[in-house]
């Protein structure tokens, strides 16, 4: 399976916004995830509509992408829905 590309966006500082000089990105191999975490990621992609959940002011969101035989798919979900391993894989940086 291809790598998962993860970007943390939003927050009080507007991470990853147009022209923003702060962003937070990372990637990881799904094979490095536990079975439970892999399942959680699958659920995020399958329930992309519902996973968006309530809009919490200034909370981070995560944009998670993967490429499969069907093409590249991306979901954007609130931080509270993201498995810890994905949260930990991103690194904040100035650009």
């Amino acid at each position: 399976m291809s790598l998962l590309h993860v970007e943390r966006v939003g927050g009080l500082a507007g991470f990853g916004g147009p022209g923003a000089h702060v962003r937070s990105r990372g990637q990881l191999d799904p094979d490095d995830l536990s079975a439970e975490e892999r399942h959680a990621v699958e659920v995020l992609f399958k329930t992309r509509g519902r996973a968006k959940g309530a809009q919490t002011p200034d909370a981070f969101h995560y944009r998670i992408s993967r490429t499969t035989a069907a093409g590249t798919e991306t979901v954007e979900v609130p931080e509270s829905a993201v498995p810890t391993a994905l949260v930990r894989c991103v690194k904040d940086e100035l650009v």
Partner: protein, 374 residues
């Protein structure tokens, strides 16, 4: 007394008046300091098939209490408004107690709210003390300048959690409370160090209990903007600055050494939203707006309009421009999908009706919005 599962209770500090829980903030069946577990969590637990019926029952019961408690708070808020409307001379006699302020320590975990900090106003942890003191000050600001009693205008307890997660570069309002990270020490430092940040987060609560602006598209931009506007206004009020002495920056006190070394002095600048010293520059014209933008980006347009209006009016921002913006936010039925042009129209109208003998105020607000293309 055993608590219902929706409420977790800590020690009640016996410090200042604000340090005590106001009676109206107490939910039924709980004789101690309490906080709410989000209803979606309660609902999930109440329906969790992995739990026995006996285990689910307390969550079901608590959901009923929660529902009634919310109704009571709405009724109290309406009554409060009614008293001020019908009996304009009465507020001094019926002055509400200041809202209780509580602080919890996440100890670098992510479970909210964390452990209660006893007597946060005199806590040895400077972060706890600062979160307490500045939250109190924001409550004072809203009470003194706008006659508002806490974020819900009904004395809601103001709860903050500090030391959230590890090197966490954010602060947020989750619908119930404020949460602050310590920063990574490079891009950002402790988020409680920004008095404008604390006022920004609390203003999200004010918006939630008034205009109920959504968090997407134009309403989202307005939502973020009013938090920046009142965040900056609070900073000016604390420093007793007039509009010419204000820095109009958001987040200047939480910038870390790595960011300042690169020349970034703030998150946003109301006086120059597109400036290079902003970590997240913003648009200044409505023509740059499109749906789907991050609200922290599109908020630059109404931010710039407020700055221009306040500067043209002069004096202290909270005395005229601030009062107009506050009334536009709180003085009407909820408008979750409000467009920026509607907000602009509302402030133009209020400028005329609230300051009928000062046509310059109306002109200032009108020109400010026109300058940003609205």
């Amino acid at each position: 007394m055993k608590n219902a599962p929706g409420f977790a209770c800590g020690r009640v500090s016996s410090g200042s008046r604000r340090d005590r829980l106001a009676p109206r903030a107490r939910p039924p069946r709980c004789d101690c300091r309490c906080f709410i577990i989000p209803t979606d969590v309660l609902e999930r637990m109440a329906k969790d098939k992995k739990l026995t019926p006996e285990e689910r029952k307390p969550f079901v019961d608590t959901m009923k209490v929660e529902k009634e408690w919310r109704k009571a708070r709405v009724a109290l808020s309406k009554l409060s408004h009614l008293v001020r409307t019908v009996l304009p001379a009465a507020p001094a006699a019926a002055a509400p107690a200041a809202p209780a302020v509580t602080v919890f320590d996440c100890a670098h975990g992510t479970t909210l709210p964390g452990s209660p900090v006893p007597n946060p106003g005199t806590a040895p942890d400077a972060v706890a003390k600062r979160a307490f003191t500045e939250t109190q000050a924001v409550a004072d600001f809203y009470q003194t300048c706008f006659g508002r009693n806490s974020v819900d205008d009904a004395g809601m307890t103001l709860m903050s959690s500090i030391h959230y997660s590890i090197n966490y570069n954010n602060a947020f309002w989750n619908g119930t409370q404020m949460t602050y990270g310590d920063g990574d020490g490079n891009i950002f430092i402790d988020f409680t160090k920004g008095n404008d940040v604390i006022a920004h987060e609390l203003t999200h609560g004010v918006t939630q209990y008034s205009a109920r602006l959504s968090y997407t598209n134009q309403a989202g931009g307005l939502n973020e903007s009013v938090s920046d506007v009142f965040g900056s206004m609070f900073r000016q009020w604390q420093a007793d600055q007039d509009v010419t002495g204000a820095d109009w920056l958001i987040g200047s006190d939480i910038m870390g050494p790595g960011a300042t070394a690169r020349g970034f002095t703030c998150l946003r600048d109301l006086s120059n939203p597109a400036a290079k010293h902003c970590l997240a520059p913003q648009p200044t014209k409505f023509s740059q707006y499109r749906d789907g933008l991050d609200p922290h980006f599109s908020s630059g347009i109404p931010n710039f309009a407020f700055y221009k209006a306040a500067m043209a009016i002069g004096g202290k921002s909270w005395e005229k421009a601030g009062k107009i913006w506050y009334q536009a936010l709180t003085g009407f039925p909820p408008s979750p999908n409000m467009r920026m042009s509607a907000f602009a129209k509302r402030t133009r109208s209020l400028a005329a009706s609230m300051f009928p003998t000062e046509p310059a105020v109306r002109t200032a607000v009108d020109k400010a919005w026109t300058a940003v293309g609205l």
